[in-house]
Amino acid sequence: MNEQVNAPKKFIVPIGPQHPALKEPGHFEFTVDGEIVTGASVRLGYVHRGIEKGCEQRSWIQDIYLLERICGICSHSHATAFVLGVEKLAKVTVPPRAQAIRTLFLELERIHSHFLWLGVAAHEGGFDTLFMYSWRDRETVMDILENLSGNRVNYSANVLGGVKYDVDEKQADEIRKGIDFLEERAHYYLNVVTTDETFLGRTRHIGLMSLEQAVTLDAIGPTARASGLARDVRVDAPYAAYVDFPVKLVTDDRCDLVGRFVVRINELFESYRLIREILDHLPAGDLTTKCPRRIPEGETISRVEAPRGELFYFLKSNGSDKPERVKVRTPSLCNWASVINLAVGHNLADIPMILAGIDPCFSCNDRSVTIRNPGGSQVWSWEELRRYGIEHYK
């Protein structure tokens, strides 16, 4: 009892589940000593939506639209990862034009996601002007996507065996015009994040993650590439049209938040180049090919480089028109370990920026919840599971 009284009390700053810094619910506890963070923990699972289970009750075609709704930002990446896997199972060869248009959407989505991230990260650092400017410019790419598909967020461009939307010359010209404007803006933002002294004061040497750490903590996506780790599914295992339109891997060896800004903005330039190339050399041909309703029995994995990193799908078919199992692992989940480890030793004020530095997407990664059962039994009845759910979300 005495020991407890004498022990120094821990001062814990809770961030979330509801907090101005978080746009989605998650819970972080930072133990602080004055302004310095001495410990960090994360608890996820507030927005688990049971999408994987839902997939098993819907047909392969319906699942495309359900999976697209996992993430509001990288919706097309999810749909593409899924249809690529299904097409592999069904041994369907998709026409090259469809693959090119899929890739076009993927890259446009990357542009919109990186501009969004730039704004959010700047806002976490209290630089609202950059936030407003980058989101204003992001509207250009949102308009392009709306022009192509009729939607700003869930484009529904994919179908099994191809794509729905074609790109005509008029649309291509509009895309080129938008891309020209965005390229100029990206140059400007690259200049801002690498030369603005107050902003550099908040990002330089903050959240340092060495190459070894990035490998150990299993970081992926731009977060890993900012530490010099050359890891990109588009390059390592090209899918869709990345075989015909190769991507140059963008890395940076700054290893800190500046590096994460620079990598993402440099990736934008690569996306612009790729989009122009695809538009100039769009293969002629059909948009779709026939894909069976019942997918042959089998298992496969499918990987896509989403804007945040590697998106992983596992698909299992039992030969019916519904999948037996769909397992999704989103990129944000892989990067949490880096946040928790990097936070220690930093100022409390740096935490939101380190958190935003991985471009977290909470509801995407709330795929499963860990159930720690003190009783020992791992098998729960429906009633027990229901009661647990009520307790958990209370």
Binding site: V13, P14, E124, G125, R136, F199, G201, R202
Partner: protein, 311 residues
Amino acid sequence: MNIAINPLIALLVFPGGIFLLGWGLFYEFLDRKLVARFQNRVGPRWFQPLADWVKLLAKEEIIPDGVNAGLFLALPVVALAGALTAALYVPMAGWMPSSSFRGDLVVTLYLLSMMTLCIGLAGANTMDRFSLVGATRALTQLFSYEAPFLLALLGPALAAGSWQISDVNAYAHNNLWMILYQPIGFLVAIVGLMGKLELPPFDAPEAETEIVSGALTEYSGRGLALFKIGRNVELVVGLSLVAAFYLGGLSNPLEFILKTLGLLLLTAGLQSLFARLRIDQTVGLWWRIGAILALVQLLAILAGQAIRGLF
């Protein structure tokens, strides 16, 4: 302008009471609108600050568990009273200060610090962790900008040879604008004022992405409304003070409006130019650069006066 005002009117209507509250709300609107336009946003409508304020006043004030209720209720009142009282010694709207005595500059500066002290106390009074961190930051920031800000306002006072605001105002009016030969002092004063008002980039004490609302997290309803309007009043008083000292004095309402608006435009620009400073960066900036600059300025004034005394 030198027209005597009945003391009661001076306290309640002009320049002390309703006028100051209204003008404070108007400047809050201008500030928000300007920053919004700089950031490519639309910004609020002209009555938005008033609407916010009335709404807050009408809302329930929740007194959280574990606070000293008397202190919790009194602090916003004291903070607003401090800011309003400070206005009596400042040439508001170009009129002579309603009240004036030798050394009122020091009293005014202390009254202007009441706000930050009250916010610090308010944060320390609650058990909320965001409030505690915010209070620590608010007081840390107070210790960093207060001395340079004081030194920056002493510069014109030394030049005028008086610590009475009305004398400095008259001296500034009759001589060359002091911003021209004390530019460092002006810069320190205007940036110090931004630190005092916790405007970006010095908004670490209320950084919403880290500590929600800082020291005022637990405040709601009337208490929050009083703190907010207190800060608006302080904005007007601070801008008037800097304009009176550095921009050639305030001798009529037109001068008051033009000069304080010019300063407001400057602060709004500075607010949208920078990323938020961490609290350690704020302290470093003020003590490594701000204080030394202000001291150099002060020494230059003293040296100049000594040399002039020789001839």
